[in-house]
Amino acid sequence: MSDRTEAPLCEIDDLRIAFAGHDGALAPAVRGVALTVRRGERLGIVGESGSGKSLTGRALLGLLPPEAKWSAKSLCFNGQDLLAMTPRQRRHLCGTQMSMILQDPKYSLNPVMTVAQQMRETIARQGERLSKRAMRERIVEALAAVHIRDPERVADAYPQELSGGMGQRVMIAMMVSAGPQLLIADEPTSALDVLVSMQVLTVLDEMIERHHTGLVFISHDLPLVMSFCDRVAVMYGGRIVETCAARDLAQARHPYTRGLLAANPPLANPPEELPTLGRDASWLTESFDGAAR
């Protein structure tokens, strides 16, 4: 597993994001989130809608909407301070060392360009100058590496001609095959059927292993994150309420985490009635001790 003495790949401290409402008052969406991710480690961020998990992922890449007002005590990547960088430097970092996969390839891939044209752009940004043939070979290779069976045909197709699972694999080919150090996956399988999700997750698994990439896996699906990630952070109301190793989640201590786990109907021996999650206002303000690792 990860080497404890190694410096963390990415570190966030006290991230706060708020949006101005109609009347000008600031509505906080993320309230003081602190995270670390190590090289090769898989961190899952789990929360329901409105918990702020997607915003946290986007803040790392500088992809927040312009109306968002945010601040952080520190935001470091690979020892570099992201807060001190110019937008240009940040963008350069994004293309090469940090990547993101989003939920629905229909919306995250450009619909007026073929797959090959889009991949050409991404590969070119890595800095190498390749001849047309070498570029084409590289593209087909990348598509084959994500287990696409007919990479030549897919390379010349438009995103809307591809199925959901195929589109996500193309996204992975584009974003991960260059071997970024950190990958943020925002609900990568939520729009996919369960069997197709398995395929996509396998491909993601392989890619991450091969390049020793750090992963931040954002999802609302706690059981899935438990099975795919090493560590899990549970978010509620813009804060992280509990962080622990994935295998220890069944013994989670925070009532919200326990409630989330219990709310999933189990296939074997389901109860008469599923326990419902009562929301305690103290979860929004108090910190929970003894869970951070």
Partner: protein, 253 residues
Amino acid sequence: MIEIDRAHIRFRTKTGHVDAVRDVSLHVHDGEVFGLVGESGSGKSTLLRALAGLVPLADGAMRIGGQTAERRPRRDVQMVFQDPYGSLHPRFTVDRTLREPLAINGIGNQDARILDALAEVGLGPAFRFRYPHQLSGGQRQRVSIARALIVEPRVLLLDEPTSALDVSVQAEILNLLRRLHRERKLTMILVSHNLAVVGFLCQRVAVMRNGQVVEQLGVEAVRAHEVAHEYTKRLLLATQGYTRDTGAIEAQR
């Protein structure tokens, strides 16, 4: 109670036609909760809509209570839809949404019935004159369920009623559906892609793929993993979460 006999549903497309449902035969008993499981494109939602009379059959027959769609009153079969944001008229208050089915069917005592319906789905009278945009996703689904039940149907069809909801809200709605089934002894058909949800509510399950039923089995068999068809096995395995083995099997397909 519900009989589907070699149903065949076909859609015309620009280039020809697509067989959404092919030669499906099912039988649902009175008071039973029957599950239809499958991935997208399996035809499960289309089959449900045909049962509701929203989609025509190309061949075969569907009978509810012995009668086909034209013979029985429309209100006998009601449906709860997947998307909570599209299932309520944006300009109608909750009161109006619930009053419409009563008004159309000439049912009297409307105010009392509306209050009862709201109470039954766990919404107090405070919600009565709200507009849909003032309700959360879970609250909208409750209103949809109340609307379906207010005309006292014999059959309730549910098309992925919780897949657009947070898991904690889903738990509340599943509990509600279970209670309603017990109290009203409804016949229900639940369509879902989630085996665990189906396992919680249903007694029998049919697994669909590419417009056909590949297996029908009781829910205990599903829980015990005693499934015959290989596709069902794969679905069951995938429900347990991601493992390298599960992934390897799927990646080779």
